[in-house]
């Protein structure tokens, strides 16, 4: 990294990149503060704006939106007990009781500092772990990369949500969507229906925006049909400075950051899980665990630090292996592809300035949360909570439509956007998670390409997938991944049977 540092820093801290990061954080906090708008949705909605920009400027804006939106989710969680993003669920546990006690300002400041520290530590982990992992991955051949892609798809399908079967259905849908377009080995058009726009395959950015922006917005509109109450904001007072917060919460920040990083690296785990584990762990180790849930600032610090540390860590598998471990990482991969980059282990070797630049941008946008998301700004951002619910959903949808049209100047893309939105809407209604489909859509071509190349190398001998040491190690992980839940389920059913027999 140090070889490229001067070039990276000159790009990252150039005027336009700096402005993009500042605007990204401000936009991210504002959008993340809207109840029901997740970080994924915020990025999906604002992603098209970044496509006209220079690669690093665009990525800077995305990094800013990501960091800002995760913090922004804490604002409604603290003020109204409505988590702005799923990652802010654990923030409501103590954040809202603090507001009820008249400590809204203190809760917001603790959340702001903790988010910033978590974000910066997560980005440091990305900078330290990413490059060595990428170098290891560069030694992988096609059979290993096939298994890496397979593991990525399978892990998200099985680990996300509470029904692995529906996760697999979602993966199947994503793999099929990835087949649309021209077969690279034969030149055969697949499922293009004569549409010239489909010959090159579905535009990943449009599909992801359709899947992640349309269904939650429709859900938001539906819920505003059921709930039309006008929100009232509590009084927000200044309460705690950064250094006194650091003295009080440094231990919580250390454990929250470590938990956020470890959870972030796992595919499909997500910021909400990191925040809940960190909250529980802090409560477990506390001298006064009974005070948690009644307005304990340490609870807010633990949750917010972990969910922001997760942001940088979630990009580790995406930038080193090309395997996005979260929906936001999938969107970032989509953005890289729009800028003509091929995700995978070679990305860091071929585009070091861009990849290191994104890492530094994640670090810097984590820092920017303090000056830009601080108390004064938070008072302003809290005003977005006053946008009437009946206007919010239509506004988001119309921004999304404008953004998607502007990606390729194509009305066909608007059709794809709504088709994917419709698919995502019904998938969500049926309880089918969307993330495995998005991951399979991105990893499908990688899976197919490496499958084909491996079989060509081995002259159609499938044993090539089972004879190499790294492949065997990945297969062992896959077996563990499938076997562990099955064994747990078997043990649980045996226990249940035993209990019933005793009764």
């Amino acid at each position: 990294m140090f070889d490229h540092l001067p070039e990276v820093l000159s790009h990252v801290f150039g005027f336009y990149s700096l402005m993009a990061m500042v605007l990204g954080v401000l936009g991210g906090v504002a959008v993340g503060a809207m109840p029901g708008v997740s970080a994924t949705m915020a990025i999906a909605m604002l992603l098209p704006l970044t496509f006209t920009l220079d690669t690093l400027t665009g990525l800077g804006m995305i990094a800013g939106i990501y960091s800002g939106a995760i913090y922004g989710g804490a604002i409604p969680a603290i003020l109204l007990r409505i988590p702005g993003t799923p990652a802010a669920i654990a923030t409501t546990f103590d954040g809202y009781p603090m507001t009820q006690k008249g400590q809204a300002g203190k809760a917001l400041e603790v959340s702001c500092y903790s988010s910033s520290i978590g974000g910066m530590v997560g980005a440091l982990a990305l900078i330290l772990i990413g490059p060595p992992l990428s170098r290891i991955a560069l030694s992988f051949g096609p059979p290993e990369m096939f298994w890496v892609a397979f593991l990525g798809i399978l892990s998200l399908a099985l680990l996300l949500g509470d029904d692995p079967l529906k996760g697999l259905v979602s993966s199947g849908i994503g793999l099929f969507l990835a087949c649309v377009g021209t077969d690279l080995t034969t030149g055969q058009e697949r499922y293009a229906f004569g549409a010239i726009e489909l010959v090159g395959g579905l535009d990943i950015a449009v599909v992801l925006i359709g899947m992640f922006a349309i269904p939650p917005t429709l859900e938001m509109a539906e819920s505003s049909l059921r709930n039309t109450e006008v929100r009232q904001l509590p009084v927000i007072n200044r309460a705690i400075g950064f250094f006194s917060a650091a003295r009080q919460f440094w231990k919580v920040w250390v454990s929250g950051s470590i938990i956020g990083i470890l959870v972030g690296i796992l595919p499909g785990a997500g910021g909400n899980l990191a925040a809940i584990i960190s909250y529980n762990e802090t409560k477990r180790r506390a001298k006064d665990p009974e005070e948690y849930g009644k307005g304990k600032p340490e609870g807010v610090a633990a949750a917010e630090c972990a969910n922001n540390a997760d942001c940088g860590a979630a990009l580790i598998p995406a930038l080193t292996l090309g395997v996005p471990g979260s929906t936001v990482a999938a969107l970032i991969i989509g953005a890289l592809m729009i800028h003509g980059m091929v995700p995978g282990p070679q990305l860091l070797r071929d585009q070091p300035v861009v990849v290191y630049g994104l890492m530094v941008q994640m670090l810097f946008t984590g820092f920017l949360i303090i000056p830009l998301g601080g108390l004064l700004a938070t008072r302003v951002f809290a005003r977005v909570l006053l946008i009437p619910p009946y206007l919010l959903a239509p506004l988001i949808l119309s921004i999304t439509v404008a953004g998607v049209y502007s990606i390729n100047n194509s009305t066909f893309d608007i059709g794809v956007l709504f088709a994917m939105g419709l698919l995502g809407y019904f998938m969500e209604k049926l309880g089918i998670p969307l993330a495995p489909a998005s991951l399979a859509l991105i990893l499908g071509p990688l899976l197919e390409k490496n499958l084909t190349i491996s079989l060509v190398i081995s002259r159609n001998d499938p044993m090539i997938f089972f004879t190499r040491p790294v492949s065997l190690a990945i297969i062992a992980i896959i077996v563990l991944l499938i076997g562990t839940p099955l064994i747990k389920r078997y043990v649980r059913s045996r226990k249940l049977k035993g209990t019933m027999e005793m009764d």
């Binding site: 098209p48 697949r190 505003s224 049909l225 206007l391 404008a402 709504f418």
Partner: protein
């Protein structure tokens, strides 16, 4: 509609989609281009069949599917479908008539449908917002957007 019934309907529709895609795959001229899509469709078909069978068994046994908290039933409410329908019409209008006018109409109609009655706010937002987005994208970011 119960969640189990909704799941049966969903799995059934998706299975029909897989069957149709299977027929399309058979028409590919190059044999080598068929193998991978066939494998994907076979995998999806098997998983969907297992889901369908499980949902039928659950429906017969009266076991509720574990599902996200949705008070309006397995496949949503009528209000939700009206929102969906309005949004799809909006998408079609944008394709044929450009961005500004359909967005203006969509914002006003949808805000009213979703319970908004403050006409001053709705009117101001519906008129100003499409122009603001148009100006922002076309003049601010130099992106194309049909007026």
């Amino acid at each position: 509609m119960s969640h189990a019934a909704a799941n049966i309907l969903g799995a059934g529709v998706l299975l029909l989609g897989v069957a149709y895609a299977w027929l399309l795959t058979g028409d590919f001229e190059q044999e080598a281009a068929r193998n991978y899509p066939y494998a994907v469709l076979a995998f999806t078909g098997v998983v969907l069949t297992v889901w369908l069978v499980r949902s039928i068994r659950r429906l017969k046994a009266g076991i509720a599917e574990r599902q996200a908290d949705d008070a309006s039933g397995g496949l949503g409410s009528i209000g939700g479908y009206l929102v969906l329908g309005g949004t799809l019409i909006y998408g079609a209008l944008v394709v044929y008539f450009g961005y500004v006018v359909p967005t203006l109409i969509y914002l006003a109609v949808m805000a009213y449908f979703l319970g908004g009655r403050n006409w001053l706010t709705i009117g101001a937002v519906a008129v100003l917002f499409p122009f603001a987005i148009y100006g922002f994208l076309v003049y601010g970011f130099d992106r194309p957007l049909p007026f």
